[in-house]
Symmetry: C2
Subunit: 79 residues, 2 copies
C-alpha cells in the first residue's frame, strides 16, 4: 500500500520559499499570481493491506517525524 | 482559483532525502516501511476563473521554473 503525506505550513506562518517562487514567477513575466506556498509531499510504501492500521501508523509517523505540528499541517492519503 | 502542483523525482532517480526519512522511521521503530520518496507540493493562488487558461499557465510555470523535467515529474490539480 502507498501512503502520500502532504505537509504544508499553517496559514499565517511565513513561507520564504513560497515567496521566492512567487517573485521568480513574477520576474519570468507571469501575471495574476497571488500567494504561493511550498510544502512537502512524502510517499511511503507500506507492507500489509489493513487500511485502518496503515492510517494509524502514518498518523504516528507524522506526529513523530514527518511534520512539525507547531507550524505545519499534514494530510494523509492512502492508495 | 488555486492550483496545486506536485513535483516528484522520476522513478530511478536517487532520492537521498527520502532515504534519510526511511532510515529515521526505521530507527524510530516503524516496521514494514518500504521505499520513501520526498517531493514538493506548491500551492499557487491564481486570478481569474478560466480553468483551461489556468492549466496552460501552470503547465508553463512547471516547465520554466517549478520542476526540472530532466529528473522530475509534475502533476497539476486545479481547485
Amino acid at each position: 500500500m502507498k501512503a502520500r503525506v502532504h505537509v504544508s505550513l499553517k496559514s499565517g506562518v511565513l513561507d520564504p520559499q513560497g515567496k521566492a517562487i512567487g517573485n521568480a514567477l513574477a520576474s519570468l513575466g507571469f501575471t495574476g499570481v497571488g500567494e504561493v506556498r511550498q510544502g512537502k509531499l512524502i510517499e511511503i510504501e507500506l507492507e500489509g493491506s489493513d487500511r485502518a492500521a496503515a492510517q494509524a501508523k502514518v498518523e504516528k509517523m507524522c506526529q513523530e517525524l514527518l511534520a512539525n505540528p507547531v507550524i505545519e499541517n499534514y494530510a494523509i492519503e492512502l492508495e
